[in-house]
């Protein structure tokens, strides 16, 4: 049971931290709970499908299928988070000012929010498919159903509790800065996911490492520890990153910050609030 609980805990922790950041970032949105629960449900269903198709995926691209799939899921999440934070950078202040009348502003940006909630599904799918394969192996090795169920329950509760603690902590941030902080967290999360994606492509030799250990702090703070894992979600911490991972990290950071600043500069404080979400994205300018 401890083995089951520990593995489930580690996987749930990562997904739970991502979900709690997204829950904070969508604070005040009507119908958010249903969307988050729906995202988790879709993620679980996706995890089962991915686990079933794991062998098929692994054979693709002459054996690199698994790494390409993981990288694609992560980069898709990065794009969705990027889209959302750039949209938010023009609407965040309105949201903070009118927390009570958030509904109408959010409706206009609902496509952006749906993207963000898809990130919930992707996070659950990625971590969940590993859990499913692990549990399949465990059940084949003759562990009792009680031990299995106990381990799963313990792992989920532990991971979810830490995610919930992060969420409650975030709620203490004063409302004036609230969406600024959640936006920064989303940007750092996206940068970390991009760096993880690069790692998958390096391990199947699809990208050059550009230096495989830029630094090595594995003995100081292992990626495997609860703190290391938490920091890896929150700020993209890696104990021994490849150069290309840093390149992905800082490129994502730079592009998203540039996009947010550009969007803030372009936005008209009041009149733009009636336009659709898609139109509030930066226009091409000569």
């Amino acid at each position: 049971m401890p083995a089951v609980a520990l593995l489930v805990f580690r996987e749930v922790l990562e997904a739970a931290l991502i979900i709690s950041i997204i829950c904070a970032a969508t604070r005040g949105v009507p119908g958010r709970a249903a969307r988050v629960v729906g995202g988790i449900g879709l993620g679980v269903a996706g995890a089962l499908l991915i686990a079933l198709g794991a062998d098929f995926i692994a054979q693709l691209a002459s054996g690199a299928g698994q790494d390409i799939f993981n990288a694609a899921v992560l980069l898709l999440a990065v794009l969705m988070i990027g889209w959302h934070v750039i949209w938010m950078s023009s609407h965040g202040r309105e949201l903070a000012k009118h927390m009570s009348s958030v509904g109408s502003a959010v409706k206009q940006g609902s496509s952006s929010l749906n993207l963000l909630l898809t990130v919930v599904a992707l996070a659950v799918l990625r971590e969940g498919s590993e859990v499913v394969l692990f549990l399949f192996g465990m059940s084949a090795s003759g562990i009792s159903a009680v031990q299995m169920a106990g381990g799963i329950a313990l792992g989920i509760c532990g991971g979810a509790a830490l995610g919930f603690a992060l969420y409650l902590g975030l709620l203490h941030i004063p409302i004036n800065y609230f969406f600024t902080v959640t936006n920064i967290m989303l940007v750092l999360l996206a940068a970390g996911l991009a760096s993880t994606a690069a790692g998958y492509l390096v391990q199947s030799d699809l990208l050059p490492a550009l230096g495989s250990q830029i630094w090595d702090t594995a003995r100081l703070l292992s990626d495997d520890s609860a703190l290391g894992k938490t920091l890896s979600v929150l700020i993209g911490y890696k104990s021994a990153p490849a150069g290309i991972q840093l390149a992905f990290y800082f490129t994502t950071l730079a592009l998203l910050i540039a996009g947010m600043l550009w969007q803030q500069r372009n936005v008209m404080p009041t009149s733009r609030s009636s336009s659709a979400a898609g139109d509030t994205l930066p226009k091409a300018q000569p």
């Binding site: 794009l79 399949f136 030799d205 699809l206 990626d223 592009l255």
Partner: protein, 110 residues
């Protein structure tokens, strides 16, 4: 929309295929009864190596190392390839994430 095309293009442009050196050293690991064989693998320092990992068990395993930052599923009776390094000299741990109590190994880079 434009911005995201730029983002996508920038990320896409970095997906250049990397020529694999013909003389890249290759090594093999076998997972049997949730144990790595051999449990100690010596590889040269400062060189990228190609590592074949075969799962001889009937249950899935995940080859993982937090020391040298690798993570890859190995399904039952399947082999995978993981490229490692170039690493600095030293001893690095790896393990099987699904059977941590038994599946432990060390990569000795010298």
């Amino acid at each position: 929309m434009k911005l995201f095309s730029v983002v996508a293009a920038t990320i896409g442009a970095t997906f250049v295929s990397v020529a694999v050196a013909a003389d890249m050293p290759e090594f093999s690991l076998l997972i049997k009864n949730h144990v790595y064989q051999p449990s100690e693998l010596k590889i040269p320092a400062g060189t990228k190596v190609k590592l074949h990992i075969t799962n001889g068990d009937t249950t899935p395993e995940e080859f993982e190392s937090t020391d040298f930052n690798r993570e890859s599923l190995v399904l039952p009776n399947r082999s995978i390839v993981v490229f490692i390094g170039p690493l600095r000299a030293g001893t690095y741990g790896f393990f099987g994430d699904f059977h941590r109590d038994t599946a432990q190994g060390r990569l000795i880079v010298e």
